[in-house]
């Protein structure tokens, strides 16, 4: 059985990789198996984790779970065309609650923390933490302050990017693009680990060519 699972995994892995050549029946089979099994897996997981694990096991102790259960039931009313419009209520609840919850979180994390982190001394050679950092730290501070400020100018939509304002926005987009360049290289390297994982499986676990 173990051998069968190993060979099946290798067969499906090669099937997905065959897409690199072109779309073909092998890929279509692997894709269908992947999609079908994963959809079934998630259905079972959500059923046991949410419906049974959270609601069924906890509705007596936690009355608030009934709110979720009722909203979930209202979603199912889509299946009854005559009263299907009721399913918009839970959707409206989710959209409204999400917006409200994230408003304060984003305000705190994306604005307050960013502003705090950007307030840096441009001349002093020492940080609050006490280490003597010299010119390198001053340049570092300058990059953070100028980069953040001009980046904000770029994302200011109420004014045309012309003149000095446009110049600042151009500096801002340079900073953003340099950041993206660095991020691109970093993320590509981390994605390589996914490929290495599959090659390790094919050459190691399946063919036994590497230990």
């Amino acid at each position: 059985m173990e051998h069968f699972a190993l060979w099946l995994s290798a067969f499906l892995t090669l099937g997905i990789l065959s897409f690199l050549y072109k779309d073909n029946p092998w890929y279509k089979l692997s894709e269908a198996v992947f999609v079908g099994i994963s959809a079934g897996f998630w259905f079972v997981t959500l059923f046991w984790d949410n419906l049974v694990g959270k609601f069924w096991d906890g509705w007596q102790d936690e009355p608030m779970l009934w709110v979720g259960a009722v909203l979930g039931f209202l979603m199912l009313l889509r299946l009854v065309p005559r009263i299907g419009w009721i399913s918009r209520w839970p959707l409206a609840f989710i959209v409204g609650a999400t917006s409200g919850l994230w408003l304060m979180n984003y305000l705190a994390s994306n604005i307050m923390v960013q502003v705090q982190a950007t307030i840096q001394s441009l001349l002093s050679t020492s940080y609050a933490s006490g280490y003597d950092a010299g010119w390198g730290a001053m340049i570092n501070s300058l990059v953070i302050v100028v980069g953040t400020f001009t980046g904000l100018v770029y994302f200011y939509f109420s004014k045309e990017h012309k003149g000095a304002f446009g110049g600042a926005a151009r500096v801002g987009i340079f900073f953003i693009m340099i950041t993206f360049g660095a991020s691109f290289g970093y993320t590509v390297m981390s994605r390589m680990s996914l490929l290495i994982g599959r090659i390790d499986f094919l050459l190691g676990d399946w063919l036994g060519l590497i230990n």
Partner: protein
């Protein structure tokens, strides 16, 4: 005899009772703290001359939940040791001990003489704690009674975030102001956003080529604002598609997004006067599994060969796979996400990319509605506030550190209180 014996017995019992009372009174007078410390820890003595070093412990120690917080602080209040009032006091300070549940006591703070309260901000919500405080001399410590067990509770209103609320109020006020201004008919300016300008052209191209438009709303659920922003743009895109009588297909990875997507497209087709052209098959659930979804969408791309692909929402490791496949089938691609790690891939492989905030500004830009434009202008006010605070903060910190200017330090202190994010 019996009378005599009885008298002697009565005398003996009277003496015994008096002796017992005398011993109790003496014991009470000699060791007063041993009575008051019945449920507290014993004194810890570093030296042998304990009598000389003896200090009265603090009294009336009470632990109470700190009000109007997130359930992350307990307040201790006590009456300082009576020896603390002496001019030549031997007290060098107080040490606060905390017991988590039935655990061992742990010293969490040392306070100077004269202290009468302490705020413990290192506790966890709903955990149970008790405290005692030792009065410290040079060579010994004298513990107080232990407090009753208490657990920090979260309140409905958290005053630690008061300034955050005020800033949110200022931005919300600006939004309301601009919405009102826009409703009165004043034209609000919003600069051009290249990616959004291209939407009509991209849909027109699909119509001319007779190929569908593929709309991918990311892989997150409706509790992600990027998905909400993507669905707002979907409203405009599907309206254009309905007008042009083109075709749209939207594979999704979340069931709720499928439901919401169908509602959005249906509304757009109704608004365009073509409700009959709408079909539920335009939006299909694939799977919640990230790479299962990617495999299916890649297959759809190479088989259907869409003329236009929209990649808007929350994307992760699948961003480059999807964008590269879309590019390989010759589709014009408009992408947008607020995830910094994925934006480089979209910039490299797509024709137009909405960077972060542009994705959220898109709905206002596309609709041109006063309400949404006002919201966008209000957000710009928030950015101006951030820029002003940063400028003032950087100047204040630079001057305060380099030239030790007290006034600048005061400004800095105020800013750090306002922008604290507890």
């Amino acid at each position: 005899m019996s009378f005599h014996r009885g008298r002697t017995s009565s005398l003996a019992s009277g003496l015994t009772a008096r002796l017992a009372i005398f011993i109790i009174v003496i014991a009470f007078l000699v060791t007063p703290t041993s009575w008051s410390q019945a449920d507290g820890p014993d004194p810890v003595l570093a030296g042998s001359d304990s009598a000389l070093a003896s200090l009265a412990p603090i009294t009336s120690l009470v632990a109470e939940d700190n009000t109007y917080d997130n359930g992350n602080a307990l307040r201790l209040i006590w009456v300082p040791s009576i020896d603390d009032r002496l001019i030549d006091s031997k007290i060098i300070g107080y040490r606060v001990y905390r017991l988590a549940g039935a655990g061992e006591p742990r010293a969490i703070a040392e306070l100077p003489p004269g202290s009468n309260q302490y705020l413990d901000e290192t506790v966890l919500r709903d955990s149970v704690y008790s405290y005692y405080i030792s009065t410290l001399s040079e060579r010994a410590e004298f513990p107080s009674n232990r407090t009753a067990a208490i657990s920090p509770q979260r309140e409905w209103i958290n005053l630690d975030r008061g300034y955050l609320f005020l800033i949110a109020l200022a931005i919300a006020g600006a939004v309301i102001y601009y919405v009102t201004v826009a409703k009165r008919g004043k034209k609000l300016f919003v600069r051009k956003i290249a990616g959004l300008e291209a939407i009509d052209d991209a849909v027109g191209r699909a119509t001319e080529m007779g190929r569908p438009v593929l709309f991918i709303p990311g892989i997150h659920d409706m509790d992600d604002v990027q998905t909400l922003a993507a669905l707002t743009i979907l409203g405009r895109v599907s309206r254009t598609i309905a007008d042009y009588e083109s075709k749209i297909f939207m594979p999704v990875a979340r069931s709720l997004v499928m439901t919401a997507g169908r509602e959005v497209i249906k509304s757009s087709y109704q608004a365009a006067g073509r409700p009959d052209a709408y079909s539920d098959d335009m939006v299909n659930y694939i799977t919640d599994e990230q790479f299962g979804y990617v495999a299916a969408v890649d297959g759809i791309m190479v088989r259907e060969k869409p003329a236009t692909v929209f990649l808007l929402g929350a994307f992760f490791a699948e961003s480059l796979i999807l964008a590269e496949t879309g590019n390989s089938v010759g589709a014009i691609q408009i992408a947008g996400t607020a995830r910094p790690a994925q934006l480089p891939f979209f910039i490299a492989a797509c024709d137009f990319t909405l960077i972060g905030e542009e994705l959220f500004a898109a709905s206002a830009y596309l609709s041109g509605e006063p309400r949404q434009l006002g919201s966008l202008k209000g957000q710009d006010v928030g950015k101006v506030i951030a820029m002003v605070v940063m400028t003032v903060g950087v100047i204040a910190l630079t001057f305060a550190e380099a030239w030790k200017i007290e006034f600048m330090q005061d400004i800095l202190d105020r800013l750090s209180i306002i922008f604290s994010t507890n």
